[in-house]
Symmetry: C2
Subunit: 326 residues, 2 copies
Amino acid sequence: MATTLKDVAKEAGLAVETVSRVLNNRGYISEKTRKKVYDSMEKLGYKPNMVARTLSKGRSDAIAVIVPNMVHPYFSQMLGEIESYASEKQFQLYVSSSSGDPQKEKNLLELCENSLVAGVLIFSNQVKPETLKRFDLPIITIERFIEGGTGCVLCDNYKGGQLAAEELINKGCRNLIMLGSVRLRKMPADIREDGFMDVCRKKGVNARVLNSNPEEFKDMEYHESILKALTDFPETDGIFCSSDLIAAQALQVAAKLGRRVPEDLKIIGFDDTAISRLTTPQITTIHQPISEMAKLAFDMIIDAIEKREVQERNVLDVRLVARGTT
Amino acid sequence: MATTLKDVAKEAGLAVETVSRVLNNRGYISEKTRKKVYDSMEKLGYKPNMVARTLSKGRSDAIAVIVPNMVHPYFSQMLGEIESYASEKQFQLYVSSSSGDPQKEKNLLELCENSLVAGVLIFSNQVKPETLKRFDLPIITIERFIEGGTGCVLCDNYKGGQLAAEELINKGCRNLIMLGSVRLRKMPADIREDGFMDVCRKKGVNARVLNSNPEEFKDMEYHESILKALTDFPETDGIFCSSDLIAAQALQVAAKLGRRVPEDLKIIGFDDTAISRLTTPQITTIHQPISEMAKLAFDMIIDAIEKREVQERNVLDVRLVARGTT
């Protein structure tokens, strides 16, 4: 005969309701009680049936995460942080990539709406705000603010751009380039650009923005653009890249052109992902609080699922991490 | 009144069974028919209920992937490849990290067993083979072979080790070190070590293995070990690292010690992940066919779910990619 919740309760010397609360992770439960329940479950070989649980709750403990690209170091680190926090909170994670394709993103959201997913975390996406608002499930966006839309977690991209300009100018650069903005759609890099250019204008330093195209973002391949930039504007003595990934490639192009970093050319990245610590020299960058952003977004989606109010716009601070390229 | 499958069939001028086959992705359906069904669904605002579908099939279209670490470039690239293939095949992906902890890995497998997950792909794991075999759900392992166990996809780690030794020796190295084997448990790196050492012995070249510890693998931090290796054995002129991640750190330590790469010291990595192409110079490495491995493992888990026979041991070829560090 199959072991029941009642058997577990009896074995643990607890009320059935208490065992149920432990299994559903509901309300306060002391560590001691939790242990008693799990020990009894183990002893009796009891396995809670997730399918039954899901149906009785009308939803699963699964959160979907939609990123434009799973391999990009920024998204890979974000996914790692979200997964580790979700696992701590006993939630499962559906992960999918939209490949930056608006139609695929819409399809993924529809799939979530019609499945057992409890809520969605989505990264700076391509779906129109009107479309996004129409979906009948809790959604939190990361690195994209939607006016009057769902809650959002951002880092202070404007300040990041300012810090990058200040660092390069303070270290003596007078001919600056910013690489990586997209401008076709409002991306985080475009706001970084605003902060960067505002400081350059204020300080009277020559600066130009070289736009990137979505293909480069998708393929994570910027060598050609960087080479063109440094060939077209040989006077360049400082580059602000909108990601560490681009900065690592700028380091490679500089080596190819025989430009010493940081002596002849200074480079600054954005994100503070692992790649910025793996190059030689290591990359000076703008630190995004990736772990805090992941946790906040996760707490917000849980709040939204449980119908608690969430703050619309949450901007987390950034800071300069000075390393070997400036 | 809610739109039904029957309404969709009527609108499309097709049999209900045909519409059902399209929705369940079963059997051959022409592109034209598929389009007709989706157009009618869109027109009528019909949304298939995934929950009902899942229950009627007794399982979901979800595959779980368990990795030891989501941020490591190798696993991040594998996840990206698996996700992209799964999405093409219209499967959803549950992703979780075991943090290399055997207990967490066991818990994750139990969770999968008791949820709607149809099958599991698991990377070189810590759970004992006996335990793994006890689980009542289809499992395919990647980079770990379990005798008499489930199907497995591997790359030819032994040959990879041989190729690395040959490259270093051919380029003139006479004092070799291998970094990154674990030896506590049978990991892929240990088989690479066998191939590497066998060639060194055969060619009479001095070589030693410096074991790594699981903490280093978990934290992806090897600088200290590399520095110690190059200080203890200053005659070293070639290093074989069991991942590109370690090789990138070896490049940094070499720069710190003033050793020129490749002139004074040659370095070779393993995996051929993005990081090997992002350093200066780029890293010579052993290419793992990550995309092919991901696809094969995915096809195998589908076969296992659908009760078709799968081959136990599938070894994919590797090759040397010569770049700037040798």
